[in-house]
Homo-oligomer: 206 residues x 2
């Protein structure tokens, strides 16, 4: 129960009065970033503008949070760096993209970080921070996939949104509403059942 | 701002002290039904047991709420009778079941009852009344579809759960997170894009 320097204290600075400058700046940055990301979305928010709103130097934002994507992950309290998952998807061949997305995402859900993700999704839906969720999905997660499948005739926006609809529903039925037999199915069983549907959304005839 | 007898007052009896017997019995029935449905699920809950818990005659439960399904709809504050939607699905041929489910369900979401359904889903996810949601999906909505697609070799449980995963995700992306272009797509456009995927879950090779 002591206000120590553990990982909890890192995430939410204790209001003990010690090192007020550091805690204060970190919280001010998070507050400013949350407001900017909610209003302007991920793409149109700059580290510089967040720093300006928080009254700190942009270098301090990078020092505390790293990249803009990592700052975003801190704002939505995502318990992982989405970059790792995204890279696994990047390296998959186009005709196995559905399978790669499922394996990468289900792997994260079933990892120790999974509980944090479920909690985040619950609070987003309940509280109405849907602008942040929308920005995260559209501008970070789905944009990378969209660029891979886009053609001159089809920008791929509907395709990746449909993939998101299936993945969000899978998260709901596997982790939140727990609709058997989906929660007790292995990743392999889910891949077999769902990957062809994702693949149709990505590269099939719509 | 008066505590009148409008539709709001019907759903949540005003605590004005007038007609205390009627309001009290109605609320006691809803309370008892909520507890029973949460603990035992829809199938194993009887009108008789709810009436017993509420200290009223079973006939009074029927008088206020109609069928057990309508009582359930009142407990989860569903702004419609699911029976109407289910009948539309019942009458569809097996090879067009995916399309029929989409048309029926999207029709309800886009109707005046849609806002109430979105509110219900939000509060279920936020509050953790997932037992009620699970029971509603598994024992009322999905069971009817499952019975139609079940074969001696496949009880259809995974198939209908997968359909639910896609439909829940569609509700989330169309009505809650609002992931364009899904919210602005017409029902016809959604049917074209999603029906083949639902149909694969229902009757295709898994």
């Amino acid at each position: 129960m002591t206000a120590g320097n553990g990982s909890q204290a890192e995430d939410r600075p204790a209001r003990t009065g010690r090192r007020p400058g550091r805690s204060g700046a970190r919280e001010a940055i998070l507050r400013a970033a949350r407001a900017r990301f909610s209003e302007a979305g991920f793409d149109k928010t700059s580290i510089r503008s967040v720093a300006g709103d928080a009254g700190v130097d942009p270098a301090l934002v990078h020092h505390y949070f790293g990249t803009k994507q990592e700052l975003f992950a801190a704002v939505v309290q995502l318990p992982m760096d989405p970059e790792i998952t995204l890279r696994a998807v990047d390296s998959a061949p186009l005709d196995r993209l559905g399978e790669a997305i499922l394996r990468a995402v289900l792997g994260v859900w079933d990892s120790p970080a999974g509980a944090g993700i479920v909690a985040m999704v619950r609070s987003i839906i309940a509280g109405g921070d849907t602008a942040l969720a929308r920005s995260f999905l559209l501008e970070i997660v789905l944009e990378r996939v969209r660029q891979r499948i886009a053609t001159p005739a089809d920008d791929g926006r509907l395709r990746v949104a449909l993939v998101a609809s299936q993945m969000v529903g899978l998260l709901m039925t596997r982790k939140i509403v727990e609709l058997e037999p989906i929660p007790s199915a292995t990743i392999e069983e889910v891949v077999t059942a769902v990957a062809p549907n994702l693949q149709r959304y990505l590269t099939g005839e719509l």
